[in-house]
């Protein structure tokens, strides 16, 4: 196990080293290794598959441009993932989105029980719900729920105030909650 792990690390070091030198074959290998996982990350931050693909390509461009700065202290996957998230955030900021004021219907809290419905929903359905969120809400929700950032950090990253970040997260959760509940009701109705 130990020897296998060391050998894997050594292979990864060689791959990183070759990518640093601009070896196209090594770059292709790295892309092949991580592109599926990173595509899932990009999908969460994007409105559509095309937009996610754009973010993925731009993110990998940055990966190859800055791979010489990778310090091997953490995992390569984590480092690449961070770059993808930053690319998505940058793309969002360049878009100069305005936060749309939405009318969010109040969902009764007693109707929602996450554990009960988890098994009923596929990853694709959840992805669709996130992608359907307004861009600003999607960003804040992703950064808070998946990346574990605090509101202060989110505000700095997105160039918004801390209060806006909090209200966007609140609204995003409310929308998702409503969507999940609707989905569950539809599923129940179809079963009956």
């Amino acid at each position: 196990m130990f020897r296998g792990s060391t050998s894997q690390e050594s292979e990864m070091d060689k791959l990183v080293s070759a990518c640093t030198k601009g070896n196209r074959r090594a770059q292709n290998e790295l892309f092949r290794l991580y592109s599926s996982k990173m595509m899932a990350v990009c999908m969460r931050y994007s409105k559509s598959r095309e937009e996610a693909e754009d973010t993925l390509v731009e993110g990998f461009m940055k990966v190859f441009e800055h791979i010489s700065t990778f310090r091997k202290e953490g995992s390569l996957e984590g480092w690449i993932r961070k770059i993808m998230v930053n690319s998505a955030v940058e793309k969002f900021r360049k878009k100069n989105m305005l936060y749309a004021a939405l009318n969010i219907e109040e969902i009764p809290e007693k109707d929602f029980a996450a554990q009960d419905i988890l098994s009923d929903m596929s990853a694709n359905e959840l992805m669709d719900m996130i992608q359907a969120l307004p861009a600003g809400y999607r960003m804040v929700f992703n950064l808070y729920a998946f990346e574990g950032l605090k509101h202060k950090e989110i505000a700095e990253k997105l160039g918004i105030s801390e209060g806006t970040s909090k209200s966007n997260l609140f609204d995003a959760r409310a929308i998702l909650k409503r969507e999940v509940e609707l989905s569950r009701r539809q599923a129940k109705a179809s079963n009956e």
């Binding site: 595509m39 899932a40 390509v57 190859f64 360049k94 878009k95 160039g159 998702l176």
Partner: protein, 477 residues
Amino acid sequence: MKELHDDIDQLFKAGMGAGESPVPDSAWSRLENKLESRELQIYKKKVRGYRMMTASLALLLLLVGLYEFRNYGTGTLTLQPALTNDVSKDIRKEVQSAQALPGEKKNAIVNEKKKDGKSPLSSSFIASNNNITSSSVSNQTNDAVVTNQTTNAVVKEHTSAPASAAYTQIVESPLTSGAAELNGSETEREYLPLISEKDPGLLSGISYPDEQPIPREPFTPSLPPSISVPKLQRFSFSIFFAPDLSTRYLSDDNDDDKKPASATKRNSDHKEDEMAEFSYHAGIKAGYDLNKNWTVVSGVSFVSLLQGLKNSTIYATSLNHQNPHFELSTSAGTAILPNVNGTPGSQDSMNIGSHTREELRFIRIPLLIQYNLYKGRFCFYASGGPTFSYLFSECLDVEIHTASGAGEIHKITSLSGLNDFNFGVNAAMGMKYGVSNHLSLMLAPEFNYMLTPINNNTSVKSYPFAFGLGIGASWHF
């Protein structure tokens, strides 16, 4: 309430946290194209830099080489060109008029001219040597000493007055084992036979009563490469060219009230998108020596600051305008782009290619003080002082990808947010090489920095700075 929110977060995290999503095949080919384009861009940038450096060095070497070739190529005295060009005409006239007279009168006239010191021949002897600078034969010069490095002969010329005055030449040579004082007539005797050889008919009819053969061999002056005659030269005039590596220091403008609503890019975004390119400045400078060490310098120069922009995607905005449009924001200002693919919708995007360039052109007036660390044939100096720049033109060449995918270059000559006037500083460490008493070549690494931002009411404040290598020539008078 918090638990409910955590439930939602957990639901999505657990449901899709470590998932994978299929990647379309086109993604790698798109990425590969971008990588190739980027590599080509870096390569071109390097080549441009090397070319400019090589051209600068080659130019400098050429100038030095030309001078050295001219200066050290020959050291022998050539009399014929001066005689055949202009002085021989005077002599010919005099000789022809003398030939028309009886023999005794001819000699009398010749002797009289010798006494007056009007010897065009001996003057031409001095002037015909290319290695003697004009100042060394100037009639205003009281005492010029010429040392012949080949024969160790020393020629002293005393001219206390303009051309009409008499002069004496003293020739000291180890070959003749002593010194001989030659006046005008003796010099003529020395060289008139040479003239006779060149043009036998020229001097026929002239004879000297006390003619004695003068040994010709010892006196073969081959003059030294340079003669230094100290002279006060306070003014200098220079022309220079400096390729610069120009970039910008950016700081976020936190004054949100002044910014347009569309200005959301921060300095980190601009740093990511923009690349320094080789720029240049060129112009003229005038200097005045206050004393041996201090010189004040001013002049005027043309400054071109160039930077490239990377590939990017921009999105249509309708802020500040009624219809959606595309704006390209750089660290200098914002340009409104033409709607190449028709009027855009509110979420439409446009791809900007890597051949996008932004150029700012300034007229700069420096006011510098220069301290001369060492002054000799090689002069080392340090200079610094304020500069005043006027932006007279800006240009943005944008590569816009059309719907068909082809890149088109569009020239935009107006960027909003730029300031007209700027204040900055210049600092340089330089070296001058004096190729003659008047002319020197200079090489000066220098640094220019603008203390005031070039823009206003934009998302970032931009302070351009540039490292340059100035090369040029100075004329001292």
